[in-house]
Symmetry: D2
Subunit: 338 residues, 4 copies
């Protein structure tokens, strides 16, 4: 941590900052330049951040040196984390494919989607039972009925299931029916939910917030991990930018970047990121080439009848083409799909 | 709603889209251009949006014409809404000043802040008891103890109190202690919380999400209002952009824009928007000149000891200067501060 | 400048960085922390930036401490700069109003606009003769014919004229006809043009780039000033964000922020920033309340016939209302309009 | 084009809009809804855009239906455009690799870079002679001396050369020395330069502006093409967003998106997009998997001595690894590198 003093800061103000840092257990050095003095401090960033140094008289700004996340950091754990559940691993040598409809809409629709996913080689099934919708007038999900259908689909097909939870209540219910819980983009900084996820005993897919920095995203993972849950799977799903041709802007550089900063697995959701069916296949291939550990893809037996996200959902035929085209790219990366 | 067909769309596909719209109760017109056909439909946007038209074969895009919010819209209610609570009105001829610390830190700190706020002419007191913090290692708030102190401060000074709630649980507790509940920027699309706020029987300050569009913000208000709560106060608090000199970018144009689209009162939080104490006074003046119905300002008896947001908190002296400089600007706008 | 070394950096790599900094004339201190070593250096930032330290082995990142601009900085010149031209000052006690059409379209249109501007109390006239247009098929401006009309309008009314130049060629021509040259948002980093503006002998209005940071904007001013031209007027005109209800997002906090960092005058263009006529008046008032030294406002005798930017142009009546409503706000700020 | 009228628009105002559209040669239909009337018009978008409809009384907004670009559009030319120069094609079955230093710094440096590029299998050499730099105090390029070195390198190695031009003057000089001219991100809307490029007789690499939408980028290509130059190569190089861990945010979805909208070849610059050497290899692989027609990669014989962009430049060893790892990914996409 480097505390930059204002040009007009007095010697007394500099001494006060220095003393406060020393009192917190930091080793400090005061460096006098021609125009400005800086106080460099080595110590626990988190303790120092709580000190309110920036509000002290004479301080211009505080520049952090260390990263704020710890448990999620590769500096703390060097080797890749691999999440294992049933016959599936995420973060290892296999590219994990999670496929299924935006929302569970009914028994026939979900079981059909599960059959298609399995036939094409996917090992995980997604389906939303609690839907956070922008409009109060839109379909809000089948709730527990939807979860029961997911459990039935899992039993029938052997697929591992993923569903979004939107508060502590829905998390409590979903725990009993599905294998992996997902925290959506709008809840990435719902800190109560993150803590509950940390105590859930289930692997968590943590989507990046719509305008979350890499650091905030890893801090959200830190919330979950600090409650004892190490099975966090990060999911890049596009950020909000000025570009409106796509629903969001897929920040694919985040994949190798986060894999450098953290040991956690990173998957990509090209469906929400782009919002356009015709971009899902190329961006899926690109994700795997960028080093992603898996994909979360919206697929519906009949997208034109979907209650949500139809325009970005693959139909069964396109999904089959996706799975076929992924194989050689995964192979080029030294990975497998199945 | 205008459905734009692809250049290669067949007559059959056009007819299917048209038929689907008519079946939903829309009046339609099919317009054949040189390169493209469009189907124009007049009807209930919300019903049409649920139809999944964009996923139908032959459709290029769907362009909405009507706005998606209803209860929050000025088309539905022409005159300004005024929220009244105790001796305070928000949305009328008075500029409402809400002042106080980021977090309730203790009895002395809060009562002192309340005294300073009242002495300078503010009528509302803010103070956080449940703090959503980016880091799990930061101070998370005094919770119910903090709320009790807010209630004591209200009793002592007669100030109207505002506090943030972060989930249904904290909302249930806070209802018993404070006058106005605030939904923070990270929870603007926490739809469960919005619904609970709609049933709380308390006025709600609804902060704009960090990357929420105007439309999403008004849709969040619509969630609250659709549960029967008409007392929604919108609060602009800065959006996330590429600029890093300020904590966020205060989107002040949103004030007159939203007041044109909606009848709800709009206030501004210049403290979180800028993150810099020296910008709070000029941006407060600018907010009032832009037509804001009030201000939410962080003020701390001793900012250098604040447990959060010290750098952007006004000290008592600066707060007094703010109140003094606001008067002539409010007068120029035909409004009063007290 | 603080050089943060990677955790695995060798003692040799640290020594090399230190030696390189010393060789550049910096005073350095090497600070060993538990996980990382940093090398703090006090010296000329510009020299150090050219050294490529970030590419040296063992270096994680380089954190600058000093600001990169010099001539534009308030640290170098404490008192406000005031640009004087004819009977007008910009940056002093008077709020400068520049009004006129987006484009010079013809003699009658421009002279009528000038008459309206003058009658309402404006002292400066704007009008574009070289128009940078997104589409090659749009109206590109009257070029030298337009400049002659500006000169005629100036002679007739006594107004001070402002026009945009888009390259060295148009700058050379415009110098002979108008009082103040403007560099537009798309050319803020056209460095050749900035240098030419620096040698033009004319005051320059420098608009902020669509996605320029405050620092890049001040560095563009530095380009002009480093060629000997001290008469730079900065103009905030909105930045590009995700919000689409307005044409751009007016970053009004930039006004007090830049006036803190720099001694240069700052004006605001609420017309391009918002793109909506009904927002121009409130944002003009807000700009003056935020401390702006002037306004650049689009006004057209008949906006529905304007060849560009009609939707954001004030008509004569609205312009009169703007001028009337500005007076009390300026007075509240201790300034005058006339 | 759909003109949405305000709820309070009079019949007369609607008739005026309709009449104006008909006078421009449009076929129109007036559609009366419950709350609003819209006027749908089929005709030449460009003509209609110049009409200023949005400024007419009673008009709420104008919604365009057609895309504004023509020559660059795939609707006008269905098959892929392939740019051929010497023994190189861009846009066909081969992935074109352009490699070389940010700036030409001297004879030895450039010839060494050319040797390394050729040895590893690249067919094109980049090197900047005119450098647009944020600071007036940074190295501004070797200008014509640098171009001569590029020409020498081309003669020695047979590589095709690419260099950036920053104004009409530098374009005139560069034409005589290099094969392909590049227009940089800061000049994407320097319309004079675009027109000059259109008349240059050379293939043009057109980088996307820092905050340019897809549509603005294609309109910039339209400027070049409307002067008769069909050899435009689009280059995605990252856009500006709130994320600061990377220099920019590589918008890789733009590759398949633009290839759908346009017939022009699209290449990617992962070096400027990420600003970090360790992200260049994964994002190069991802680009090819997303369908890019080529890569523009910064490579320097000794990045720690580079005068610009050292931190993002590959050294010879990393560049060799990149070329080796690209082969299987290109093969998976049915393409070749050599």
């Amino acid at each position: 941590m480097v505390v930059v003093m204002l040009p007009q800061a007095s010697e007394e103000q500099i001494a006060e900052v220095d003393a406060k840092l020393i009192a917190m257990g930091c080793r400090t050095q005061v460096i006098h330049g021609v125009k400005r003095t800086v106080v460099a401090a080595m110590g626990d960033r988190r303790a120092v951040e709580a000190m309110g140094l920036e509000a002290m008289p004479g301080v211009e700004k505080v520049v952090p040196i260390m990263k704020p996340f710890k448990l999620a950091s590769r500096e703390v754990k060097e080797e890749n984390s691999v999440v294992s559940i049933k016959n599936v691993t995420i973060g290892g040598n296999e590219v994990a494919i999670v496929a299924g409809p935006c929302a569970v809409e009914g028994r026939e629709q979900l079981l059909e989607a599960a059959r298609i996913a399995k036939a094409a080689g996917a090992k995980l099934l997604r389906g939303g039972a609690f839907k956070p919708r922008t409009s109060p007038y839109s379909f809000q999900g089948m709730e527990e009925e939807g979860l029961k259908l997911l459990a039935e689909a899992a039993e029938t097909t052997g697929l591992v299931t993923v569903t979004e939870v939107i508060d502590e209540h829905s998390l409590e219910i979903a725990r009993d029916y599905v294998d992996i819980l997902q925290i959506g983009t709008r809840n990435m900084q719902n800190f109560r939910l993150l803590k509950a996820a940390g105590m859930s005993g289930k692997p968590i897919v943590l989507k990046r917030g719509l305008s979350a920095t890499i650091e905030e995203w890893l801090m959200a993972a830190e919330y979950i991990m600090s409650e004892g849950n190490k099975d966090v799977i990060l999911c890049e799903r596009g950020i909000r930018t000025f570009e409106t041709y796509t629903r969001n802007t897929l920040d694919l550089s985040a994949v190798p970047l986060v894999k450098g900063l953290s040991h956690l697995p990173v998957i990509v959701d090209p469906s929400h990121a782009t919002g356009k069916r015709e971009l899902v296949v190329p961006m899926s291939l690109a994700s795997v080439a960028a080093g992603a550990d898996g994909l979360l893809v919206e697929m519906h037996p009949d997208p034109s009848k979907a209650l949500c996200d139809g325009p970005q959902s693959l139909d069964p035929e396109l999904f089959g083409q996706l799975m076929a085209s992924l194989e050689p790219v995964a192979a080029a990366m030294g990975k497998t799909i199945h």
